[in-house]
Symmetry: C2
Subunit: 295 residues, 2 copies
């Protein structure tokens, strides 16, 4: 309902500060509204690397923000979410570019949720600070977190009912199997994590899982454990994940339930001045390819 | 040898910019030199919370740095390392306070290593950025990392031979058992992680493990797996870990091998203007208590 309200406000073109302002928009509702109204499961990953953006932008003030703004403007009607990866900003002291990016999306596209990809994980007192970082300082709508330290370390994030908490389950890299596949009494660690997410951590209905597109069999198993939980799915594009296998195995009964992220294949589709148009074409093409396998 | 050189330079009182400058000081050597020359295993945790520092500092410019500087000056001869926890800075946009703190330690106490407690973990391309954040941007000597995503995600840190890479193994919180104790073929996940650290990840001799003081039996088991590897040991003090049990079970044959962290019990020993003197007393008392059980 809150997501629908934001859409209405956008369509009315109300005052910018009123559109999002201090209103609490629920991440889960925004996500579901976006899937439906845009008919898109595509998440655009803003892994914006100062060494990879077009040369003409690097001389500007806040170059990462300038790049992101152009990509966002070109893809807003195609994206169900944006996902900036914080390391690309913090490595070069560009926290303010990240703040500007998220604020720009909130002001101009208030119905699109922003996922801060930070994969945080620490004990309670520190986790409170990381939750503040993601939700209060950056005003993200969701954050990615690492479960290794246990369920108690996830509580400070999960307690924020309006925010999404996206828990690493089975990741998209080759080394994922080192520990995530450790098997106890016939259950793999990632299956145990998925079970906890469904049965212990989802009292507020705001838990999600990260499941890589590069392991479609695992996507299927985890979908069986968590039939309705949304998955953030990295690994499409540069990492080699197959769209058909990922969508077929990862979708919910209604043909949604996935936030399918692509970063490099969208934002670096062109290294020239036409990068934003090229990003739009890549995002549209991915949306269409995904939609072929949803029903 | 490099650590010893830094000590020499400090004693000579050479030009500040020359003392550390661009010299590469090896984390492991600095650590071992510090244990020996100071006879201390105490690490002071700079979990500096703007809501907890004395009121008179909160009005100053860079209040977190001002607080840290006073604590560092009061404890430098007692600390084998400093460990700022990054969430306390990033939650409030105080990255520059963190930069100033690390730079201050490098300039004034060049033989003391700085551990950036960030518990990062992500796939290779992003891990490269996190390594840049810790080692190039902040110029930390070591960083804490999370192994959940697998061995390949740790390589970008481990490749930095002069830097310490401190891998979460068995953490100090109650929920640690949720996943770290998952048992496959008689081996717990934390034992598998410790085995990998010793046998697969330590080609450069720069891997360490995080093992909480709150689980002394696990400390003993992990010491058996990794007889010479240094451990970062949180959980003493505010978290309730017993010093005697931790040191007895965690020390190496030579009576060292541990970086025993205390944050709140040292830096908030007093909430008043005497906070630095109180921090010194708390650090000295902890050092002495630890040393009682080392030989």
């Amino acid at each position: 309902m809150l997501g629908a309200m934001a859409d209405t406000l956008t369509r009315q073109g109300g005052e910018k500060e009123f559109r999002r302002g201090d209103k609490t928009l629920e991440f889960m509702q925004m996500l579901k509204d976006g899937w439906r109204t845009k008919d898109s499961l595509v998440c655009v990953g803003l892994d914006t690397d100062i060494g990879k953006i077009p040369l003409h932008l690097r001389k500007l003030e806040h170059p990462l923000f300038q790049f992101n703004r152009a990509v966002v403007d070109a893809t807003a009607d195609l994206a169900c979410a944006y996902k900036p990866q914080i390391a690309y900003y913090s490595a070069v002291g560009a926290e303010h570019d990240l703040e500007l990016t998220i604020e720009y999306i909130h002001q101009n596209y208030p119905s699109i949720p922003v996922i801060l990809d930070a994969k945080r994980g620490d004990i309670g007192a520190t986790a409170e600070k990381y939750a503040e970082e993601a939700f209060d300082r950056y005003r993200a709508d969701a954050v990615t977190v690492n479960p290794y330290m246990g369920g108690d370390t996830l509580k400070p994030y999960l307690a924020r009912k309006d925010k999404g908490v996206i828990i690493l389950c089975r990741t998209s890299n080759a080394g994922a199997r080192d520990f995530q596949d450790v098997t106890a009494d016939g259950r793999k660690l990632y299956q145990i994590v998925a079970g906890k997410a469904v049965n212990s951590w989802n009292d507020n209905g705001n838990a999600l899982l990260v499941v890589g597109a590069t392991f479609p069999e695992e996507l299927k198993e985890i979908r069986a454990i968590a039939p309705e939980m949304p998955f953030l799915v990295p690994g499409i594009g540069a990492q080699g994940g197959d769209v058909k296998a990922a969508v077929t195995n990862g979708k919910t009964k209604s043909g949604a339930g996935m936030i399918i992220n692509s970063s490099r294949a969208i934002i670096y589709a062109s290294a020239d001045e036409d990068f934003a148009e090229a990003a739009r074409r890549a995002a549209a093409s991915l949306r269409d390819e995904i939609n072929r396998y949803r029903s």
